[in-house]
Symmetry: C2
Subunit: 210 residues, 2 copies
């Protein structure tokens, strides 16, 4: 299962490297090709950098690890290759000051992506955990496993995303249809407030006790 | 510290009974007085039922455990007694079909309450845990403690709410200013979807790993 990572910022690099080290073939792309090259080199384990078209063509699962506002310009040129692809929406539609969500409780960033690119299978996931956790490659905090919620409408795509979440050692929880991204995106805001403003730092995560 | 509970539905009864059994003087009120009487009787431990005016006059902390849409009509008649009271907003502004939030990411139910009743100190808390958890009087699931997030603008009020959360055995986490209720209210929707729709049941809760 090839995993594409569009965007080579903090989240994309950390998550891509971890997936590569977990044994998945990882393909990076970025608006600035040198960033993708660096991400692939740092990841090792055979991770490659290529242009976004090649990533989307070859990948079974494509992680959208770029700013929400750049998704359309990144995907529009590869629209024809998106049919049936699993797009994992790692982003959050956050205002530029990082203080609020720009898309509301009657909609979500993930749903907007799905509407824009209806032939792809969008799954919301990985959006409420700090890049620093991915960079640390530790799915547990104090011996307890972080839950990663995922939401989507296509069962097979969700199953695949479940598999990669579990492969990293996280606790995957099916949070239902893509519509529920409306509640996963605010969770990331809570995470950001706790970690960056309220003193908990970035090595935090939510666990669903059940 | 007297604790008032306005509303004697599932949440109010369960949380009030638990607080009473934890040693706090608990005062119930309800639109239908017989419901408050029943809640007080079931709680035991000296819990009392009275009208909302008396509850608000006597209580140091008032839990709003009634439907969000009934808050204004419950509090308007006691507006003059609210000055300096700690109002703990346990509610969520949920649409009548329980499928969405009726107030969005640029506002929250808690902030609306604070705006309506500016002399009171509103603290958002207890809103993302099922009544069934309160009824079970277990703050732990599988040996792990459920986190209760609270948000508010007045430090002393927050400290008091922190104290009662801890008294029940929960893990209290300061989630910042009341504005952050915008992110705690969606958390309750996620909780509801997981528990009621996605098969996890009601004995669930979130834990902040750190």
């Amino acid at each position: 299962m090839n995993i594409g990572v569009i965007g080579s910022g903090k989240v994309g690099r950390a998550l891509g490297a971890w997936l590569a080290q977990a044994g998945y073939p990882v393909l990076f792309s970025a608006r600035d090709r040198s960033h993708a090259d660096a991400a692939a080199k740092d990841s090792g384990c055979g991770a490659l950098a290529m242009d976004t078209t090649a990533v989307v063509q070859r990948a079974d699962i494509v992680l959208l690890a770029l700013p929400f506002t750049e998704i359309n310009s990144a995907l529009e040129p590869v629209r024809e290759h998106l049919s049936g692809k699993i797009l994992v929406d790692v982003t959050n539609p956050i205002t530029s000051d990082h203080r609020a969500l720009s898309i509301g409780h009657t909609d979500s960033g993930a749903e907007e992506i799905a509407q824009q690119f209806p032939t792809a299978n969008v799954v919301k996931a990985f959006n409420a955990v700090f890049a620093e956790v991915y960079a640390s490659q530790r799915a547990k905090i104090d011996g307890r496993t972080i839950t990663i919620f995922y939401a989507g409408d296509e069962p097979q795509s969700k199953a695949s995303v479940h598999t990669i979440i579990a492969a990293l050692g996280f606790d995957p929880v099916d949070a239902g249809p893509l519509e529920n991204a409306r509640y996963l995106e605010p969770l990331s805001l809570l995470n950001i407030r706790l970690g960056r403003v309220l003193g908990f730092g970035t090595q935090i995560g939510f666990s669903l006790l059940r």
